[in-house]
Amino acid sequence: MTEPLAAAFADEWGRVVATLVRVTGDWALAEDAAAEAFAAAAVTWQRDGVPRSPGAWLTTVARNRALDRLRRAATERSALESIAALQETRGSGGEEDAVEPDDVPDDRLRLVFTCCHPALPLETRVALTLRTLCGLTVDEIAAAFGVAEPAMAKRLVRARQKIQRAHIPYRVPSGAALPERLAGVLAVLYLLFTEGYAPSGGDDVVRPSLSGEAIRLTRVLATLMPGEPEVLGLLALEVLQDSRRAARTTADGALVPLEEQDRGRWDADRIAEGRRALEAADRLGGPAGPYLLQARIAAEHARGDAADKHAILRSYDALVSLTPSPYVALARAIAVGAADGPDAGLGALARLRATGALPGNHYLPAAEADLLRRAGRHGEAAAAYRSALDLVRNGAERDFLERRLAEVAPGPRP
């Protein structure tokens, strides 16, 4: 794909599909017509250059392709109605005589809310978002999920069928339903980001394409919903975490902990974008939600040695009261260790362990090991690293733990 086309693809795919879904009510048709329009663009733009308004060009062509398909299949009244709706919006001239983008309402917000509808299984929400909003192919999504292509295709077909047959509305929820549904959308985007950032299995610490897609979509959402502090909070959190992507692993893929990272490799543009989003969220005011709090923590970490460890701990305290998750409690305990010393952190971890939280998970023993190492209690640290190693699944994290174990327990492994 040439560069202008690739850029248009990334920017316009979701918009084109969203418009076509609204006009035809048919998800599969919308995707097929969009795919045909992008294929046509690959030929025409190569020859004639990229049009002034690529999005309008693509939308018009996709509409015409959908119209042709519906005409061929027009046997039902509903299909004929769709044709009428399409004809109303069809420009009078040829494909080049495209409608101006301002005439086209941005339907992507509806598409986001429908893809992330709670009546769909969580994994399907992520997959459907990648397909319809980001334009990833079924093959690419299947690879990202580690499943076979036919299985992913089947899952997506089932999702479209459920949307259609169960009448999941193509609408942005309003009133009391909005905050809960928006939280669901943000959860899907963050899951997409973290699966790209730290996949739960396999050896790649970072799958940049997925986190990149998540950031792009979150930016779109922040543009479409500028009054929602949590959307800005999520955007800030994602770009701040992503700013450390290059520094987070060595050339051979090994994990580098935050305090050992080469700060010259942190992405200053990303950090600046994160701070701008945080400032915009703060201007909106109101109590900080979980994403905003996490973004504040990430922004503080981005200051390197100047980070205010007690400010980080205060954000964690607020976060713990909002989201009673053992992972948040674990992160808070680590923050206690950083702010008030390893012994205080170990105390917080011991209280967490006493609740029976995080069984079978390597994070708790790994955190204990780290604080024990800092406290100079190397024997206990080695035992804790070994416990963590028994439980860890991600290959890069395993390598990191083994390196740490070698530091506190030199010599050949028993």
Binding site: H117, P118, A119, L120, P121, T124, R158, Q161, K162, R165, A166, H167, I168, P169, R171, P173, A177, E180
Partner: protein, 233 residues
Amino acid sequence: MQYLMLVRVDPDLPVAADADVEPWVEEGARTGMRLDGNPAEDPSTATTVRVRDGETLVSDGPFAEVKEYVAGYDRLQADSLEQAVAYAAKHPVAKFGAIEVRQVWEGFVDDADDVPAPRESGVDYLFLHVPDRELIKTATRETGDPTEWVRRIEQRRATLGGDRLRDEPDTSATVRVRNGETLITRGPFAETAEQIAGFDLVRVDDLDEALELAATHPTSRIGAIEVRPLVMS
């Protein structure tokens, strides 16, 4: 007496060659035994709603994976369970599934005067009420009473009817026909741990409105409500 018939299809059994429901429907119209009925979209379109600690939990799929899944319903009028079962046994799906026949608990919710007619257009859903065996013990007469909910959906013009079902052994039966032989099991459908205790037919704008209604029904707090779209003709 009124009965609810749940038509359950076993996808592993071949559809009978003579599986035409029309003669059965015509017989019901002639005898006055069949009041109405509709096919439901398949279980993959189902959504299940629970409310726990004030939080609405929405999940994809039916309340329980069961081989003989609910494919539709019919409402019957009969003099006795035996008469209802005899008619149900003639339903074509009895040969490749099971027909659950349940006596309606008439008068469980008082009839209201001046109920506005349901809206003329919308999407129809079948609600299957499935109380949890343990949680139902926590329900009191007040917290478990659906009357207020019924009044509310009547005023919203969103109900096409609904009933609590009786669950005594002599008020329900499950019918299968295999190799020409009619097999009758007393009591509600026994293949799932939890049993369907009631149903509602609602007409709303879309799934969001259906889920909102389900989440405010007492059953969602003491169990689950499966929301199934009906096949729109």
